[in-house]
Structures are given as C-alpha cells and as structure tokens.
C-alpha cells in the first residue's frame, strides 16, 4: 500500500500496461519530452523511449485518426487529448469513426484504443477548457465511457480500458490530479461497467461521478452528522457500460435517488439514469428523483462564479435535506 496522487496514478497505470504489452503505444501533444501539461505522463518517455511515447503536432484529428489506424491494424494505442473541450475539433472520430467501423463492416474492423483526456472544471480556465463532456460521448453507440474518481480506480480502470477490445473514452478530472489515495502494490486491473458503493446508507442514494464523488461523500457525512440522514453514495465510474443493477439495487434499498452531475443540465448522464429508474423501479421510489447539476450555462472563469455553478457539498446537503423533509 502506498498513498499516491491521482496524477501519479495515471503515470503508473500507463506504465503498467506498457510494461505488460509492447503493442501499447502512447501519443499526444506535449506528452513525451515535456511529460504532459498536467504532469500526468512524466517519465514515460524516458522509460519507454521515443518509439512508444510520441509527441504530436497540435493536430487533434491526426492524433485520433492515427490512434484508430494503429488500433485497426494491431496496436493498442493510448491517445491523449489535452482538454476534453478539444473533442469538438476531432469529434468525427469519436462520433463517426471509432464507434461505427465495427458495425458498418459487419464485424470486420476492430478499434481497441483508449482516449485519455483532462475533463472538468475548477481551474478557472473558462468556458472552453473546463467542460464536463462525458455526456457528449455517452450518447454514441459503440463507445465505452469511463471517469474514475480515485488514484486506485485510475490505475485499475485504465488497465481495463487498455485491455478492452472496444474504443474507450477515459475522462480524468483536472481538479483531481493533485488529490491522494491509497493504492495497493503490484498490478491493478479493474472491470469496466461496474459502479461502486463507497458509503452504504439507508435513507437516500446519491450517484456521483469523478470530482462530484468526493463532494457527495463530504455531503453524506454532513447530512449524517447534522441532520441524521444516512445516504448511500455510489460512484458510477463507468457510464458505458452502465452498472444499472448496482444503482437499481441501491434505490430499492433507500427509496430515494439523487444524482450529482458536473455536466450542464440538459441531457446530462443523470437524466438517462433517472429515466431508467422511472421505467423500472418507479414503485421503489418514495419521492421524485432529483438531479443536482451545473446550470445550463457556459462555465465562467472567475473564482467566485465558477465555485457557484458547480454542485458543492453545501448544495448537495441542502437539496437532499429539503427533498427528504418535504
């Protein structure tokens, strides 16, 4: 066991897979000699050399296309898109190429690649470098979508993503890079499509993803201590595949559902989950499901403004308390 940062977990996760399999290669902007703009790939170039860890021009389409061509023909590329906002300039690969080639070719074409990207707000970068765009990817058939919240999950889910035969979009949260967590020694391999109950509880289920997970946990402690409300916190971890059994099981136990989403409200991941719960577990619910999200606005840059728009522990506490008392 060792305590490491989320940032170092990314390095360890990539290194673990590159050591295991020579077909794993890594490309992106500033990822090699500079060690990544978030310092999340430091040392990989030195460890694995210039043939396997490669700097690219600022050409997101070339990065994505090259990853796909390499994946189709036998490599297992990890591509980095520095900020997830930049998906918008290479979205053809995410929406049209990675996820549809297998289907359109009637199973001939494979696409085993991972796109890692820095997602989410909290760095005061403004509206084009702060978005949570996991829902852009969740809606596309053929992709898998993962967003870890802890160093241990970073390593385990990254390993699972690299070993997965499908294209996986791997969202790292920029505001989690400096956070720390306990990580066991040795190889870690997790399973895609599994949610995790991080805090058992009986009064309400709170679903969260990435940066919203520590906030949900903090809110749950406060709800217990100050209001006697015992919340179950579930880290969704994987949006596709989606572990609905864990979520439905939790709702069956607590009878109340809250989602904590960093994405803007419309078509956020929680909307789909709430609709499934309404379809399949309506009579398990003792009250309406409630979505706690960023409002439907572009993200502002200023400290005080950005802090207000993201769901905070205080907002979660207040929303759950009022909802359960009404």
């Amino acid at each position: 066991m060792a305590e490491i940062t989320y940032r170092d977990a990314v390095i360890r996760g990539i290194a673990q897979e590159m050591e295991r399999d020579k077909d794993v290669v890594f490309l992106g902007e500033d990822v090699a000699k500079a060690g990544g703009v978030f310092k999340a790939t430091v040392g990989l170039y030195e460890q694995f050399g210039p043939l396997r860890v490669r700097d690219t021009p600022i050409s997101e389409q070339a990065i994505m296309g090259a990853a796909m061509g390499a994946a189709m023909t036998g490599l297992k590329p990890i591509a980095e898109i520095m900020f997830s906002d930049f998906f918008a300039v290479c979205f053809d690969y995410i929406a049209n190429e990675f996820p549809k080639s297998r289907y359109m070719s009637n199973g001939q074409t494979k696409c085993p690649l991972v796109v890692r990207t820095g997602n989410g707000a909290g760095s005061r970068f403004g509206a084009q470098h702060s978005q949570s765009v996991e829902n852009w990817c969740m809606m596309i058939p053929g992709l898998k979508v993962v967003a870890p919240s802890s160093p241990r999950d970073v390593i385990g889910l990254l390993a699972a993503a690299v070993r997965d035969p499908d294209p996986v979009i791997f969202f790292e949260h920029k505001s989690l890079y400096a956070t720390k967590g306990e990580v066991p020694d040795g190889e870690i391999v997790d399973t895609l499509g599994t949610a995790k109950v991080l805090r058992p509880g009986k009064d309400a289920t709170i679903l969260a993803l990435a940066l919203m997970v520590p906030r949900a946990l903090q809110a749950a402690e406060q709800l217990q201590a100050e209001h006697g409300i015992d919340c179950e916190v579930v880290d969704v971890r994987s949006l596709v595949p989606l572990d609905m059994q864990t979520i439905l099981g939790s709702v069956a136990k607590t009878h109340r559902l809250f989602t904590v989403e960093e994405n803007p409200r419309l078509c956020g991941w929680g909307a789909e989950i709430v609709s499934i719960v309404a379809d399949e577990a309506f009579y398990d619910l003792d009250g309406p499901p409630v979505r706690i999200t960023t409002p439907h606005i572009p993200l502002p840059a200023a400290d005080n403004l950005e802090d207000i728009v993201l769901p905070t522990p205080a907002r979660i506490v207040e929303t759950v308390r009022r909802s359960l008392n009404s």
């Binding site: 296309g65 090259a66 990853a67 796909m68 190429e97 009637n106 596709v240 595949p241």
Partner: protein, 344 residues
C-alpha cells in the same frame, strides 16, 4: 505536366515486354474493365431501383484504381472514400460482394449493414471506405505508424478526391506523415469537381494536391490518371520509397468522372463538350489501343471483355436472387463481444 511525357515514355519503351510486361498489362486492363462493367451495372440497377441509398461511381477513373492496385503487394492496405467501389474491386473483392452491398442484400460485403459508401474487406486489404471527407487520411497514417513501429513492410495507400484537399484533416495528416516519416501514399483523384462545384472555383492553387506538397516538404507529383501504365509506374516509385523508410508521397492523378457526383446528379454544371473531350481520353479506350499497338490480339482483348461481362452478369443474377439481410443482425457487432449491450 508529366502526362504527355509519361505517355511518350510508355509508348517509346520496348513495347509489351518492357518494365511492365504483358501479364501485368493484361491484368491492368482486366481490372479496369471489371470496374467499368460493375460500375455501369450499378448505375443500371439504380435505374431499376435495385441499388438503394446513394452511389458514387468511378466511371472514367478506372485507371487510378487499377494502376495502384496493380502495384500493391498482398498485405498493402487501401483506405478509400465513399467513391470506393473501384478501389475495392481492384483489390480482388468479388463483384457479387460489392453489388450485393450496393443492393443491400444478405450476400453483400457487409450484409447490408454498411452500404455503398463503406465497402470494407480486410481480407483483401481494403481497410474501409470513409464517407466523412478527409477522415481516413489520419487513419491511414495510423496504419502506417503500426508498420513503422513493428518493422512491417506494408504500405498504406489512401485515396481521396480533389475536394478533400481543402479540409483540415488533409493538412493535419500530410504534416503528421511527413514529420513521422510514415510509409503512407496519399493519392488525390483530381476529377476537376468537388461534388457539383469546379475545384478551381474554391481552391487557391491550380493543382489542389500537388501545389500543396511543398508545404510538407514533399515532391510535387502530377500524373495522367487516365493512363494505367503511368499510374502503375508512379505507384511503384512511391511504394518503393515508403518501403525503404523514406516517408510519404502525395500524388495528384488527373482524371474525370463520366457520371455525376452521385446517383442524384446528372452533372449539368459541366460546360458543353467537356465530357466528350474527356471521353476521347477514356482510360479503357487508351489502354485497349496500347495493347493492340503492342501486339495483343483483338481476340485476347475480346475474351477478357466477355469473361468480365459474364462475371458481372452472374453476380447481378446472384444478387437479385439473394435475400434481404435478416433482422437479427441489426444488433450484432456494435461492441467487440458481438452484441450491443450498454448496461446490465
């Protein structure tokens, strides 16, 4: 322009058994006739409402597909556009499989799941036909990167139209391939029109691909795309360079499509007489004349024509008799486990 010079060279060479040779020439002729007959049949079947959706034909552009495929080795990879029937057929994919896909029948190359614009046959090295302009240039780079990384000797060959030279992915891919020195050959089929608009109306330079080559440190290469010998020779040169580790090439092939952009386009935007002038330079006509000039008998040529016609006729009948794809393939192969499950 290299056109006249190449033609002169081809004809001034020692004849049938020059560097290309009789067997290869008959092969190149046959490939062009297969494409011509199959594309013409696709058009006829469309008029009978048996080819559904859309289709983008390569009538008039056969020499490019034949010349490049003729120079490829097994294991070399083709990346095509939605105008990709020709390149797919040229790698040896059976006519029935292609027509079946155009007719969206169960005997089609992808059992009707892809359609005319996405022909793929990995066993023949046809790594897909891409319908988003420019998307496959970076993808071809990736396949070439794999070859470079693994020490494989195959070349990735990426075909696209003149319109592609004005999209970002073209420029990203060219720079990327040049910087990484990848074994990829970019082939621009300049048929003078981006869909309905003359390419010269929307492009800053006269030669949309070749005039951009120098920006990426590449040689300016223009070839007569209606002369299969010229195409074959330039392909060999580019492939040799790629296999030697000397990086990518960008080749602009001058040609003309005899039909409109797609099935819905009668091509009325073309000036009077232009099509007729280009038909004088029909690649199959040119090649037939050359074969005769080199001493191949009328009978040999007629036999090839008849044999190809029979293949296309038989394929047509087989496709007409083939069932529609079964409903149960609707949800197969979304994910690698064969299914479509996104939740438990």
């Amino acid at each position: 322009m290299a056109t006249a010079k190449d033609r002169a060279q081809a004809q001034a060479g020692s004849g049938l058994n020059d560097d290309i040779g009789e067997a290869k020439r008959l092969d190149l002729y046959r490939l062009q006739v297969v494409i011509r007959e199959a594309e013409q049949r696709a058009y006829d079947l469309f008029l009978q409402n048996l080819v559904k959706g859309t289709s983008h034909l390569s009538l008039g552009q056969e020499a490019i597909a034949a010349g490049f495929a003729g120079a490829m080795k097994p294991g070399d990879l083709s990346f095509c556009t939605y105008r990709g029937h020709a390149h797919t057929l040229a790698r040896g994919v059976p006519v029935e499989k292609v027509l079946g896909e155009l007719m969206q029948r169960d005997n089609g190359l992808m059992r009707g799941k892809g359609g005319s614009m996405h022909l793929t046959s990995e066993e023949h090295g046809v790594m897909g036909s891409y319908a988003i302009i420019g998307a496959h240039l970076p993808i071809a780079c990736g396949a070439a990167w794999r070859a470079q990384y693994k020490g494989d000797k195959d070349v990735s060959v990426c075909f696209f139209g003149d319109g592609t030279t004005n999209i970002g992915a073209f420029h990203e891919a060219l720079n990327f391939a040049a910087v990484w020195k990848l074994p990829v050959v970019f082939v621009c089929e300049n048929n003078l029109y981006m869909e309905y608009t003359p390419i010269s109306d929307v492009t800053a330079v006269p030669h949309p691909a070749a005039d951009r080559a120098s920006a990426y440190g590449l040689e300016r290469i223009i070839v007569d795309g209606n002369d299969a010998d010229a195409v074959y020779r330039i392909a060999q040169t580019a492939f040799d360079k790629a296999r030697a580790g000397d990086g990518p090439s960008l080749i602009e092939c001058l040609t003309y499509r005899h039909s409109g952009h797609s099935r819905a386009d009668p091509g009325k935007y073309r000036p009077e007489g232009e099509l007729e002038r280009w038909k004088e330079r029909d690649p199959i006509k040119i090649y037939k004349e050359r074969l005769l000039q080199f001493g191949v008998s009328e009978k040999t040529i007629a036999n090839i024509d008849a044999e190809v016609r029979k293949v296309v006729d038989d394929a047509t009948e087989a496709c007409k008799a083939a069932p529609l794809p079964p409903i149960d393939i609707l949800t197969t192969d979304v994910y690698a486990d064969g299914g479509w499950a996104w939740r438990n």
